[in-house]
């Protein structure tokens, strides 16, 4: 973390967040000491495999982890200096949906099937502002128009919409109260590529209009390249590489990140095989000692198998949780 950034209070700051799930007597460490920061109006991409803890981070920020079976065991989340974990439930409720809102992964299930889409948008407005019913309805109609759905469809049900349109409705719900921070949990994963582009453009336009900061959770490097300012790569509940988009894309330092980019098939070359990273992500209730990536890492040395691996700065200034940065760099050229 650069010194000058430390001085000004960042818009969103996550320090050492740790979350555990409990299941069948096992303790599952989903998030282990994640620190992130996000400036107003910027986008941070959170990249990682399924099960790496990305969604858990987003849900912890909103404090909507399940009551039973999940616990935030440490760390703090500060929004404009306010520690969200220290707020009472009543204060937190003013923030949810109003200051921070979330776009969910699967638009097919993120809408209530027996409520009209208009009513669902109006609901969030009603929960956060005072007024008459027609005010809420009017706002909901505005939001529908804003995401490119004719206001006449206010009274239709989610099953009458296509997947892309449902995701627009979900976006409309998320943005109806002009939040300062948008948590987008794989907003395009369930959509096909052409609709993906539309939805991303839509989010980008609306964010520009309201200067909304966004935490974008994805495993799609293409989406990251298109939308993000900063990128954090997360593996087994830990951030293993953190830097600006250019730093990460041009000079990936961690073997895992390098592997991720290596796994993207080249569009120009004639490739017969894909290049996956060997092995599987570790079981979250039985994480390897030392660097959690060492069982799959081609550069692993004895030193990787024990102790704690700290974030360290690479040559061009971004951060990476790897003790062999220099060897890796030399070999990858």
């Amino acid at each position: 973390m650069s010194e000058q950034k430390m001085e000004t209070e960042p818009f969103l700051q996550i320090e050492d967040l740790a979350v555990e799930y409990y299941s069948d007597g096992k303790v599952i460490s989903a998030v282990n000491g994640v620190s992130l920061r996000l400036e107003k109006g910027k986008t941070l991409g959170l990249v990682g495999e399924t099960g790496a803890g990305k969604t858990t981070i987003a849900k912890s920020i909103l404090r909507i982890l399940p009551d039973v079976g999940a616990k935030i065991t440490g760390g703090e989340v500060k929004l404009e200096g306010k520690d969200l974990f220290k707020l009472s439930e009543v204060e937190m409720r003013k923030i949810r949906g109003n200051n921070i809102s979330m776009i969910f992964q699967d638009p097919m299930t993120a809408l209530n099937p027996v409520q009209t889409v208009g009513d669902q948008i109006a609901e969030v407005v009603r929960l956060h502002s005072k007024g008459e019913k027609h005010d809420f309805v009017k706002r909901a109609e505005e939001m529908l128009e804003m995401v490119g759905i004719p206001a006449e469809r206010y009274h239709e049900y989610p099953h009458q919409f296509s997947g892309g349109m449902k995701q627009r409705v979900v976006i409309a719900i998320a943005l109806a109260c002009n939040p300062d921070l948008l948590l987008a949990d794989e907003p395009t994963t369930a959509l096909d590529v052409t609709i993906q582009a539309q939805v991303l453009d839509l989010i980008a336009d609306l964010r520009k209009k309201y200067n909304t900061a966004m935490l974008l959770i994805t495993h799609d490097m293409g989406v990251v390249a298109q939308t993000c300012d900063d990128v954090a790569v997360i593996y087994a509940g830990k951030i293993i590489e953190y830097g600006s988009k250019e730093q990460i894309f041009d000079h990936p330092a961690h073997p895992y990140t390098i592997g991720l980019f290596g796994a993207i098939p080249s569009m120009s070359g004639d490739e017969e095989w894909l290049h996956p990273i060997d092995g599987l992500p570790p079981e979250p209730f039985n994480l390897p000692k030392g660097c959690t990536f060492h069982p799959r890492c081609p550069y692993a040395t004895e030193a990787c198998r024990g102790g704690t691996i700290d974030m360290r700065r690479t040559a061009d200034g971004h951060q990476c949780r790897c003790i062999n940065i220099d060897t890796v760099k030399k070999q990858e050229g």
Binding site: K59, I64, K94, R96, G97, M102, F104, T109, A110, Q115
Partner: protein, 296 residues
């Protein structure tokens, strides 16, 4: 592109409130038997409501000259042992039997659903305690429990309804709870939390509308069940007391004359049977119409 979308939306607009109810009715209409059941039941309701205008005699009026007469033009369904007109008594009796069925189901469904919703949403210990209490109720045979409660409360219209309601409560609670547990893990519930819906609001406006369709079916069938139970209670002398012309009570009073004047048993029995049949046909049809797997 945009124009065509708008047009489609406009043409769809008039049916905006057509909604779930109309869709279910459309499905129902395809099912001839269910419609028959519905029509019979509605017809019964109308007849029973209009009883004072239709019935040829006062249901308490005794005619000492015409005792235990078979069906005739003067007395369509004959007369009973006190010379009362059975047709009139059945019309008025329907008021008791049918409303007892409806009210007791209404009470047991509402209360049961509230309990089930709490258990289903909160889960864990809350669920455990509620379910064990319901187990206690369910572990007693239904009829026995009803008899005990109505014996304690005393007979009468209101008390019988209460006794019947307690009986139907666990089933309604269980059904909603199971459905809610399935529905609870859906993403739209998380989404509702993320826009800051209170727990109450999530239960009432998101979870219940998505999970109560099995309860509708159960309630429809339940009315039939409750009518039979009410009749049985009256038959054994609990429940509604003579001279109230409740169907079960009529059967009970007639049973000693079953050999000499079978019509005294046949007509109230038929009234019960037809009502139950109609309700069950309706319930079957509703179940099919509400089954999400058969949607469109």
């Amino acid at each position: 592109m945009m124009v065509s979308v708008t047009n489609a939306a406009v043409s769809a607009a008039p049916r905006k409130k057509q909604s779930e109810f109309m869709r279910v009715m459309r499905q129902m209409r395809k099912n001839k038997l269910a419609m028959l059941g519905l029509i019979i039941f509605i017809a019964e309701l109308i007849i029973v409501l209009l009883a004072p205008f239709i019935s040829p005699y006062d249901y308490t009026a005794m005619d000492p000259i015409a005792i235990r007469q078979g069906p005739s033009l003067q007395h369509w369904f004959g007369t009973d042992d006190l010379g009362r007109d059975i047709f009139s008594r059945i019309l008025y009796g329907g008021r008791y039997s049918i409303t007892m069925g409806l009210f007791s189901v209404a009470i047991s469904t509402t209360v049961g659903m509230s309990i089930g919703a709490v258990a289903g949403y909160f889960g864990g210990q809350v669920d455990n305690i509620i379910m064990r209490l319901l187990d206690i109720i369910q572990s007693l045979p239904a009829m026995l429990l009803t008899i005990v409660i109505s014996a304690v409360l005393g007979s009468g219209y209101g008390n019988t309804i209460l006794a019947l309601s307690v009986n139907g409560l666990p089933a309604a609670a269980r059904m909603l709870r199971a459905q809610m547990m399935r529905e609870r893990d859906n993403e739209y519930i998380e989404a509702a939390q993320s826009i800051n819906c209170s727990k109450f609001r999530i239960i009432v406006s998101h979870l219940i509308p998505n999970s109560f369709s099995p309860n509708i079916v159960q309630a429809t069938m339940g009315v039939a069940n409750m009518i039979v139970m009410a009749a049985s209670l009256s038959f054994i002398g609990l429940g509604v007391q003579p001279p109230t012309p409740e169907w079960g009570a009529m059967l009970s009073g007639a049973r000693q004359f079953i050999r000499q004047s079978p019509h005294m048993v046949i007509f109230p029995g038929l009234a019960i049977a037809i009502t139950i049949l109609a309700l069950n046909l309706m319930g079957d049809g509703l179940r099919d119409a509400l089954d999400p797997k058969l949607k469109r």
